[in-house]
């Protein structure tokens, strides 16, 4: 994962609640065995509608998606995060993220910016009113700002996730620091726990 420190850019308003991962990347796209190229499938069913916000030229090149509450519900598909990143998004702002989606984001360096509902609403309205409005998201400070409007807010990131994002650390590498603890744990597992040997 590449380090993520500050994201500055224009934003797209996606004024819907409960945007599930089936909408973010429909299941037809999940047949691919690669990790790249999912941007073309991002919201592909909604993009069939010419008026859909991602089809509006004033939002081309935006790097932040501002959405309603309960973003990323449903399927655990990390393809949703890969699709958002591949399309060019670096952060998603929402008053509430589904747990698995949020986790997947932080593994890949897509910022899940969880804001107070009133700020979420204000940002949606502000970005809808002014597609040129720039937002700045600062990982170290945990802040989201629209300097032109004097809007500012904070978002939660636990210390561990923040440091991982800032340094681009690999989770597996971090866990392997505790290799000895894993080995010790393995030595005291209950004897009845199931195992499956051999190639089925």
């Amino acid at each position: 994962m590449k380090p993520v420190t500050v994201v500055t850019g224009r934003a797209v308003p996606l004024d819907r609640s409960d945007v599930d991962t089936d909408q973010i990347i429909p299941s037809d796209w999940l047949k691919r065995v690669e990790r790249t190229g999912f941007g073309a499938g991002l919201f592909s069913e909604w993009r069939d509608d010419r008026d859909f916000v991602l089809n509006q030229p004033q939002y081309a090149g935006a790097t932040i998606l501002v959405a309603g509450p309960n973003f990323g519900t449903g399927s655990s598909r990390e393809h949703a995060v890969w699709a958002l990143l591949d399309y060019g998004f670096e952060a998603v702002v929402s008053p509430r993220f589904a747990d698995i989606f949020r986790n997947n984001c932080t593994k890949q360096g897509l910022l899940p910016v969880e804001v107070e509902p009133t700020l979420g609403r204000s940002l949606l309205d502000a970005v809808a009113a002014d597609p040129a409005l720039e937002l700045t998201i600062d990982v170290a400070r945990g802040t989201v700002e629209a300097p032109a409007l004097g809007m500012t807010g904070s978002f939660p990131l636990d210390e561990f996730t923040r440091d991982r994002l800032l340094h681009g650390w690999d989770d597996i590498g971090l866990t392997l620091r505790y290799r000895d603890d894993i080995t010790a744990y393995e030595g005291q597992r209950a004897p009845w726990l199931p195992t499956v040997e051999g190639a089925g």
């Binding site: 609640s17 047949k31 690669e34």
Partner: protein, 488 residues
């Protein structure tokens, strides 16, 4: 239904374990016995007892291992099966879709390379990943179970802590057999009283989701409790835990009891002899202690629950079958109002229409929610006595696994379905998510025993209504939403 709710925010202060002899919840106990490492300012490192793998969310994880020159730490704690992509007809022939075929081949190749047991299409043990774990006896009380699939919550029915993970986490578990997790809050859902006859586990869980919403369980492990839950079979408990994620909860759990132990005893991977006795003693200690605190409690009166049908595009948009399609203006919250209006437009429904007057084109009985033997028995029972599927209706039964299919055939259920006009298919995820050829056409309306009524979930432009197997079968006969009791 009568409901009550309390939120105990005071106890939600951090991730430290509740130490000493303080009463603990089932999920606390399972969490604490899997702690490998704990440090201030870091998520807990949990050991994973069972890692289930399927073709869709694993290829990129195996690529990651190869890229870093890593191996699978515990192939013997890992089991793979092909389920999402597999066709449900002509499984003796090559898979027609080359992209699906490739993904299935890649799963088998990865498992062979890393020494993982794999049940490919057509294997006697193959089936939906959340069906085969329990039926092989691999899902046991007190375990941690993960899979790159959000419906991993299913296995919580055994008193396991089971949840879905993304592909990066799949790679992490393959490499280390552990997972970094922030401690989840606890939520008790008390389902009090007896559910009326004809009300199934599916109806209970839909009623719960309707009540707490798609985000009601976010950040929480749900523990389902109360008489109506204790009265359920393991199949019913799996249906309930399966849909925890539709209420936003990564995991749902039910304390193991004699129903659990009877289901497990004699299964291929269940312990035997002395080990069975030791396991049993341990499993009996898992239930939530008297006086243990939950961060949140929701109480639901089971006696008031009726068969449920979803009307919208998320599983919380649900009403009893006796109700009408709701009017968006009846929702106080503006976001809910707008979501309802959007859903009615997508679903092609008019507010005020009685659900029983909504006609259906397709009936799908299957998915990790409702494709176990008991589900098939319940649906077949509705069709007994020569009942026929309504003319023009497409009706599919997709058993959850080859063992389920074989059992159903041994009981003659396949003949009941076929005589009624249902298609009897091969096992897989099928029309639940339409990654194989089983899809809805644009505008087609489906009564489905699956778990998600999202836009396009069963095929682009398709309209999904979630129901129980009994309601699905009755609807197939009536041509519109119906309960078995409605059939003449």
């Amino acid at each position: 239904m009568s409901t009550a709710s309390k939120t105990n925010t005071a106890s939600k202060t951090g991730t430290a374990p509740k130490t000493g002899t303080a009463p603990k919840t089932l999920s606390d106990k399972v969490w604490e016995r899997h702690l490998v490492h704990q440090a201030e300012g870091e998520p807990d490192l949990l050991f994973i007892d069972l890692h289930l793998v399927h073709e869709v969310t694993s290829p990129q994880a195996f690529d990651g291992l190869r890229l870093e020159g890593r191996t699978v730490r515990h192939p013997e704690l890992t089991v793979a099966t092909a389920d999402h992509n597999v066709p449900t007809t002509d499984i003796d022939k090559p898979v027609a879709d080359p992209v699906s075929a490739r993904q299935l081949e890649v799963l088998s190749a990865n498992c062979a390379e890393f020494g993982i047991t794999c049940y490919p299409m057509g294997h006697a043990n193959q089936g939906i990943v959340h069906i085969i774990g329990p039926e092989l006896g691999l899902s046991q009380p007190g375990m941690t179970i993960v899979c790159g699939d959000s419906h991993t919550s299913t296995h919580g029915a055994f008193g396991a802590l089971a949840f879905g993970i993304g592909t990066s986490e799949v790679e992490h578990v393959l490499a280390t057999q552990t997972l970094l997790q922030v401690r989840l809050s606890t939520m008790a859902v008390e389902v009090e009283g007896d559910a009326p006859p004809g009300v199934t586990a599916k109806d209970i869980v839909l009623a719960i989701i309707g009540r707490i919403g798609t985000s009601g369980g976010m950040g929480h492990v749900i523990e389902y409790r109360g008489e109506a839950v204790r009265a359920l079979s393991m199949e019913g408990r799996m249906t309930m835990c399966n849909m925890s994620i539709e209420a936003g909860a990564r995991a749902g759990m039910i304390a193991p009891d004699d129903t659990t132990f009877e289901y497990l005893q004699g299964r291929p991977h269940a312990p035997t002899g002395r080990l069975w006795e030791r396991a049993l003693e341990d499993w009996r200690s898992l239930a939530t202690d008297e006086g243990a605190d939950f961060d949140k409690t929701v109480t639901i009166d089971a006696t008031a629950i009726r068969p449920h049908v979803t009307w919208g595009t998320n599983p919380a948009q649900v009403v009893p079958i006796d109700a009408e399609v709701p009017d968006p203006s009846s929702f106080a919250d503006p976001a809910e109002r707008e979501a309802a209006a959007r859903a009615l437009q997508y679903m092609g429904l008019t507010a005020g229409t009685p659900l029983r007057e909504v006609t259906v084109d397709t009936v799908f009985i299957g998915s990790c929610t409702n494709s176990r033997i008991e589900d098939l028995r319940a649906a077949a029972a509705v069709l007994e006595g020569g009942r026929r599927v309504r003319a023009g209706m497409r009706a599919l039964v997709v058993p959850g696994s080859h063992p389920v299919k074989a059992q159903a055939e041994a009981e003659g259920l396949d003949k009941v379905f076929v005589a009624a006009g249902f298609e009897w298919r091969e096992p897989g995820c099928s029309m639940c998510l339409a990654m194989n050829p089983d899809k809805l056409a644009v505008g087609e309306r489906c009564a489905s025993t699956s778990n998600r009524n999202f836009e396009g979930r069963q095929g682009r432009g398709g309209r999904t209504h979630l129901v129980s197997p009994a309601v699905a079968a009755a609807t197939a006969v009536a041509g519109h939403f119906a309960t078995p009791g409605d059939l003449a």
